[in-house]
């Protein structure tokens, strides 16, 4: 069985640690997918991958997004699973490739095998609770696409039974204290090019999110989506807020003592 590591372009370029942490977690938990002793579970990183095409697709530029989406499809064609550490990029592949990929059957197949990291760990690898130690007050930032498009949790607008796959993975760590928020799942204001073209609103949204986390005493701001954290982290650094920003994959690796040897 082949698991394809999907490292979105901005993670590849700016957050190699997050890519490495994702790989380490998969190395740790993916072997349990083997149902027979002779079955091997291989984690591959297809080199031809670049980007899922979300920036272009979100701008409405279908023609520009198509070749990028086709490249993605080709890069992961030989994989049984595609797993990536970014809710919004995974949502792009799962929910918005319609009309971008010429081969309908191939698109359906790709959709069915693509997972966000936490979702993959919970739903496919059947990881219940992770043993480890992380003695900090942690605020979880919900990524909108993870929440509302991938159903990683139940959004506060919906009147349905509560669940949260990201929270579930970290909640069992020793010493961890998960903080609550006044607005549990409001958007951070990143939104891709929105962050640039609606800069004023985007930054106000981000500052409000950070303030909500600070008000509730978070020391670490964690999320399953690095794109939200790129925006929030940028504000946190500019404002000198005493908050550490971590992707959930990094957090889990640190808690489990898995070394991420990226400088």
């Amino acid at each position: 069985m082949r698991i394809g590591l999907f490292i979105p372009c901005y993670v590849d370029q700016f957050y190699p640690r997050v890519g490495a942490a994702t790989l380490r977690l998969l190395e740790r938990f993916a072997p349990r997918l083997a149902t027979q002793p002779w079955q091997s579970v291989e984690i591959v990183y297809p080199r031809e991958q670049t980007c899922c095409g979300q920036p272009m697709a979100n701008a409405g530029c279908v023609e520009e997004a198509k070749p990028v989406a086709e490249r993605f499809l080709a890069a992961f064609r030989a994989c049984d699973y595609v797993v990536g550490p970014s809710g919004s990029c995974v949502a792009m592949v799962r929910k918005h490739y319609h009309g971008l990929i010429a081969d309908e059957a191939a698109r359906a197949q790709l959709e069915a095998k693509t997972f966000e990291l936490c979702e993959f760990l919970v739903d496919v690898a059947q990881v219940d609770e992770i043993a480890g130690n992380f003695a900090h007050r942690v605020g979880l930032h919900q990524s909108c696409h993870g929440l509302r498009e991938l159903d990683l949790g139940r959004g506060s607008e919906r009147m349905l039974p509560a669940f949260n796959k990201v929270r579930q993975l970290v909640a069992g760590l020793d010493g961890i204290e998960l903080t609550d928020l006044d607005r549990p799942d409001e958007c951070c204001g990143f939104g891709g090019t929105f962050a640039v073209f609606e800069e004023a609103v985007s930054c106000m949204m981000g500052r409000d999110r950070v303030a909500d986390h600070r008000r509730h005493g978070a020391e670490v701001l964690a999320s399953a989506d690095m794109s939200c954290l790129m925006h929030l982290g940028g504000l946190i650094r500019r404002d000198g807020e005493p908050l550490r920003v971590m992707h959930v994959a990094e957090l889990l690796c640190e808690a489990m003592g898995l070394r991420i040897d990226v400088d």
């Binding site: 190699p16 409405g60 490249r71 929440l147 800069e199 650094r237």
Partner: protein, 456 residues
């Protein structure tokens, strides 16, 4: 920058006002959550409402005819208006024939959409908006900023100053009770003097020919009880098939709009009152072309509860006026480009695509997906700003070539590392105005993987 981005930046620049606006609307969103939670069948109701609306939209012509017939049988006169101009002309004609000079009007976004007030005023007819919020914005010579809470952008201190100026209330008065009472007194005179009452329509029932107007102040009743002439203006999408469907919508509307179990007054009108006249104006104004569009048809399900505005993090922080249209917020950003894509083509971009609107909408309109679809439509019609298109072309060119992507990434990271701060954080760098860029690592993930992982 788009018109919305510019206006939004101005709104945000007044930080305390923007924060206050955001909190006022979030408070209502929270009230809505409490009310929705109190109904175990909430999600079921939403599904039911969306099914009824879907059925309605696929039978719209027949249902409208049925309504027309039944309303006439009840003694109402029914008029059909193709667009805003016809709507205004019909209403003006009715008023002029009866030499009406003074009109009271309860809340109706449709008449706003059609520009009825200025039109009638140009013809020497005085129109008084009787919804308190609408009246406040009317006194300020402004447009409503929100479909349910038209004066939500105005603070009570400002209302106090306005009333002091226009109604002679005590200087510096801010007590909402006192101010509301002053408004009530003045509006009462308007009600008594009016020769005609205009209302909107929340739900028109095909099966009976009756219709319902929902208000919290009872002003639809007041405005139609005294004058002999009642004109009700409705968009053609306001129709529902049966009286039995009404309960579904009334239960959803109040809860979604203001977090009340039900709107305070749901006034039912079945034909004219004895000795009076009732006219119903059915208005298309672009709605049938929406109906003809596979992609955007569902936006006609909208019952104008305003929940998507209240939940929208962008609307809350940029204010309704920043959208420059009658119906602002997520739903407005779908229906306005349909009317004029060139004029309103930037509205679908005034959105972070968070999807909260879709999940809050009581009739399950997939708002954020329709906004995304609109963006595709804007590009297809060649209406995207050329600079943005060029940017996307360049990105696509790079991202479809793995080697070029690698080279460009490395170059960008190096440039970021070695460039002086003033160069990186120049005026052109909108990202960096208030935010730091990510700290560029020496190696990409790919490079690290090649070094550490191969042969492991």
């Amino acid at each position: 920058m788009s018109a919305h981005a510019v206006a939004a930046a101005e709104f945000v620049a007044n930080g305390s006002r923007a924060a206050w606006h955001d909190q006022a609307l979030w408070f209502i969103r929270a009230k809505r959550d409490n009310q929705a939670r109190s109904l175990p069948e909430w999600e079921h109701l939403r599904e039911l409402a969306s099914q009824v609306k879907l059925h309605t939209m696929s039978n719209l012509a027949g249902l409208l005819e049925q309504f027309d017939e039944n309303a006439r049988r009840l003694g109402a006169r029914v008029h059909w208006a193709r667009d805003a101009a016809e709507h205004n002309a019909i209403i003006h004609g009715l008023l002029a024939e009866r030499s009406v000079r003074r009109v009271v009007k309860s809340k109706s976004m449709l008449t706003e959409e059609c520009g009825l007030n200025p039109y009638l005023e140009r013809h020497g007819i005085e129109v008084t908006d009787t919804d308190l919020g609408e009246w406040i914005v009317q006194l300020r010579d402004e447009a409503p900023s929100h479909i349910v809470l038209p004066a939500i952008h105005i603070k009570k201190e400002e209302v106090g100053a306005l009333f002091h100026d226009r109604l002679g209330t005590a200087a510096g008065a801010t007590d909402p009770k006192y101010l509301a009472e002053a408004a009530r007194q003045r509006l009462r005179q308007k009600f008594l003097a009016a020769e005609a009452g205009i209302t909107g329509v929340n739900f028109a029932i095909a099966e009976t020919g009756g219709f319902v107007v929902c208000t919290n102040e009872g002003n639809a009743d007041l405005g139609t009880s005294l004058p002999p002439l009642h004109i009700a203006a409705m968009g053609i999408e306001k129709i529902i098939p049966r009286a039995a469907d009404l309960g579904v919508f009334l239960r959803l509307l109040g809860r979604s709009a203001t977090g009340q179990p039900i709107t305070a007054y749901s006034s039912h009108f079945h034909g004219p009152r004895p000795g009076g006249e009732l006219h119903i104006v059915l208005v298309d104004n672009g709605r049938s072309s929406l109906l003809g569009s596979e992609d955007f048809r569902r936006s006609l399900n909208c019952i104008r509860c305003g929940a998507c505005l209240n939940t929208c993090p962008v609307f809350r922080r940029s204010g309704g006026h920043s959208y420059g249209v009658t119906v602002a917020g997520p739903i407005g950003s779908i229906i306005n480009p349909a009317r004029d894509a060139a004029e309103h083509g930037s509205l679908p971009y005034a959105c972070s695509l968070c999807g909260s609107c879709s999940d809050v909408c009581p009739v399950k309109i997939d708002l954020h997906n329709q906004l995304l679809t609109w963006r595709r439509e804007i590009v297809a019609r060649g209406l995207l700003a050329p600079a943005k298109r060029t940017m996307m072309r360049a990105a696509s060119f790079v991202l479809r070539r793995s080697w070029l992507y690698r080279a460009a990434g490395a170059a960008a990271r190096t440039a970021l590392r070695i460039s002086p701060r003033w160069l990186v954080y120049s005026r052109l760098n909108l990202w960096g105005r208030q935010r730091e860029l990510p700290e560029p690592p020496a190696k990409s993930f790919r490079a690290w993987y090649d070094e550490h992982q191969e042969g492991r």
